[in-house]
């Protein structure tokens, strides 16, 4: 029987991408690509809930619109992509 490896994660010097939780990753992604903090007439404010922002992102990416941070959505957020925002404010 194989003994499961006990993985230890380390911080590599010079690594630009830090270990972050899925929630942190999602928040960063939704902000970076314009799904959160939509510009309103009254100024910059979180005009949409996280769930609605997720739904919008899921629609843009052709995923099932669950409004939840499911595995498919996290996987999509980890894919290499263009840096141009999806939602322009």
């Amino acid at each position: 029987w194989c003994k499961p490896l006990k993985s230890v994660f380390v911080t590599f010097p010079g690594d630009v991408i830090k270990n972050m939780t899925n929630k942190e990753l999602a928040e960063q992604y939704l902000k970076r690509f314009g799904y959160l903090n939509v510009m309103q007439k009254t100024g910059l404010q979180p005009a949409v809930s996280a769930s609605k922002a997720l739904k919008r992102m899921q629609r843009q990416m052709g995923l099932e619109e669950t409004g939840r941070l499911d595995e498919t959505t996290i996987d999509a957020m980890k894919q290499p992509r263009c840096g141009v925002v999806d939602v322009r404010n």
Binding site: F12, G14, N19, Q79, C82, G83
Partner: protein, 572 residues
């Protein structure tokens, strides 16, 4: 497809570009070629031409950079963000930036073009055999001068075809030494260096002196990456050192241990634990051609598409045989029109069996007689449009604005309310329609008039009518109770609005385009999401709620909010 707000585009058909610098990952001629092919993707379907400039300011300035590279949008190391580009315009607008922490290839692993040897600059052939042994990278085996080489056919032993691989011992890139090779050791700020270094630079690029004393001669160049080099980390350009130790375990190949993202890495010295020197192992890399074609789409005025197979979809996907998706073609031709020199491609799909095409597939026969009797609705000839609080639908037909309300309609023939003619009974002109319609539009190409009421629609060509048909036939969801607005967009496309969503109808194909619905407020920011009517008039999109309208210009800015009665109809 999406265009940028205001349909930003180049006004000149001859667009210029300039390559400001090169990635060390690929030979410069391969990079030149990848960019040229990426431009060709777009020039084949539009009247645009692309001319390369070697100095001065070009419309599209192309550069490679890492992390903070001089604009407000830093890159993020290997993977993640690959590149970005700006929509057409002056200054930085139109420019394209590529993240040089990526491994740039042709999409399938190191793309190694040789120099010298006897293969006329052919690409390395991996794997190849030399002296009975198989090689998957360039090697220095068989040489005493340490120059890496490869076979350009599968079997060096038989074919004897070879060339030299990128190496700082062979040439440098950029700098001021005209491509001369590095000289080792060299002196920089009093220190002696035996290899390429990133010292003295903040951008992470490896360089070397091309004489033995930089302090004195100031001659330098950037080092090309060897195909065996690691990417990123803190040892860019160094080869993996096998075996190496990590957390006291010994590794003889790249590993993902220690990382939560599963990426393969290696130590570049015998002990990571002691030296902490590491980098990512070379992988398939990203196709510079595919990424550049996408970015140039932005530089020409296309925003992201949500069609997964479209080039303008935001995520990277490698495809071996690339062809532009029809969504991309429609998008770029919406901005610039088709290439007059290109014949339409032959259909690649299996021809449909003979039979009705979507355009000629009515569920009901064309008839001059109404299929559904119009609900009788008395028309009061004295009814004044200016007394109406709101209308069921407003649209422009044959250049005249029409106002529909409860089985009657008015048309505006002049500039103000004095030019309002009517009311006319709808049953006289369009007898098949019910009294109350939700929206209507005239197809600019065919002059057919579409009417929507509840879940049904009718199409009038003169006095001939098709319908009613259910809106589901157009690909709209069965849950949709009505279509509230319609806006013609480009040739043969119409946006249909309902609730907080809109869809794009391909009028010719009679089907909703892929990638819809979309949220109205994402594209049409600042208008009410509960508009009961949306229509196009003199290039402006009007969103109506009650007595009020929100007018949006072609740059998708709300430039006026007012009363339908006073501002549009000019009622006293």
């Amino acid at each position: 497809y999406q265009t940028f707000d205001g349909d930003l585009k180049w006004n000149n058909k001859d667009v210029t570009y300039r390559i400001l610098n090169y990635s060390p990952d690929m030979e410069s001629s391969l990079i030149d070629d990848a960019f040229a092919r990426a431009f060709k993707v777009w020039s084949e379907v539009t009247p645009l031409t692309f001319t390369r400039l070697y100095d001065g300011t070009a419309d599209i300035m192309i550069s490679f950079g890492k992390a903070n590279h001089g604009d407000p949008y830093p890159f993020d190391g290997k993977d993640g963000l690959l590149a970005h580009a700006y929509p057409p315009g002056e200054g930085m607008q139109g420019d394209a930036h590529f993240d040089d922490d990526e491994f740039w290839t042709l999409g399938t692993g190191p793309a190694v073009k040789t120099r010298y040897g006897n293969s006329d600059g052919a690409m390395c052939h991996f794997p190849y055999t030399f002296d009975g042994k198989t090689y998957t990278t360039c090697t220095t085996e068989g040489r005493t001068d340490d120059l890496p080489w490869c076979s350009t056919t599968a079997d060096y032993d038989n074919d004897k075809k070879f060339g030299f691989c990128p190496s700082e011992l062979l040439y440098t890139i950029g700098g001021n030494s005209n491509g001369a090779e590095c000289v080792f050791p060299f002196v920089f700020l009093g220190e002696t260096y035996n290899g390429c270094t990133t010292e003295g630079r903040s951008d992470g690029y490896r360089w070397c002196a091309t004489t033995n004393n930089f302090d004195q001669d100031k001659q330098f160049g950037f080092c090309p990456s060897r195909d065996t080099a690691v990417i990123g980390g803190n040892s860019e350009g160094e080869p993996c050192h096998f075996p190496f130790t990590f957390l006291e375990n010994t590794y003889t190949s790249c590993t993902s241990e220690g990382r939560s993202d599963g990426k393969l890495w290696c130590g570049t010295t015998a002990s990571y634990d002691k030296d902490q020197k590491w980098g990512f192992c070379a992988d398939r890399g990203y196709s510079l051609f595919l990424v550049a074609a996408h970015e140039f789409g932005h530089a020409l005025g296309l925003d992201h598409s949500n069609i997964q197979d479209a080039l303008m979809y935001p995520m990277y996907k490698y495809v071996e045989t690339f062809s532009l998706h029809e969504d991309d073609v429609e998008g770029i031709q919406y901005l610039y029109g088709p290439n007059p020199d290109t014949k339409p491609p032959k259909p690649t799909t299996t021809p449909s069996p003979p039979g009705p095409t979507p355009e000629t597939e009515p569920t009901e026969e064309p008839t001059r007689k109404p299929t559904i009797p119009t609900t009788p609705h008395p028309v009061d000839p004295s009814a004044d449009a200016c007394q109406m609080e709101m209308f069921d639908a407003i649209t422009e037909i044959q250049g005249k604005l029409h106002f529909f309300k409860d089985g009657q309609y008015w048309k505006m023939t002049g500039k103000d309310h004095k030019g309002l003619k009517g009311p006319y009974p709808m049953a006289d002109m369009w007898p098949a329609l019910p009294a109350v319609i939700d929206t209507t539009f005239e197809d600019h190409l065919t002059k057919k008039i579409y009417f929507f009421s509840g879940t049904r629609f009718w199409v009038y060509t003169g006095q001939n009518v098709l319908g009613p048909r259910t809106i589901e036939k157009l690909g709209l969801p069965s849950t949709l109770s009505r279509v509230e607005g319609a806006v013609q967009r480009g040739k043969g496309k119409v946006l249909l609005f309902s609730g907080e969503n809109y869809w794009r109808l391909d009028v010719k194909a009679q089907i909703i385009d892929k990638g819809y619905p979309r949220y109205t407020d994402l594209v049409f920011g600042g208008v009410p999401t509960d508009a009961h009517d949306v229509f196009l008039y003199k290039g402006h999109t009007y969103f109506c709620r009650g007595r009020f309208y929100w007018r949006m210009n072609s740059r998708r800015q709300v430039d006026r909010v007012g009363y339908v009665k006073y501002d549009v109809m000019k009622c006293p």
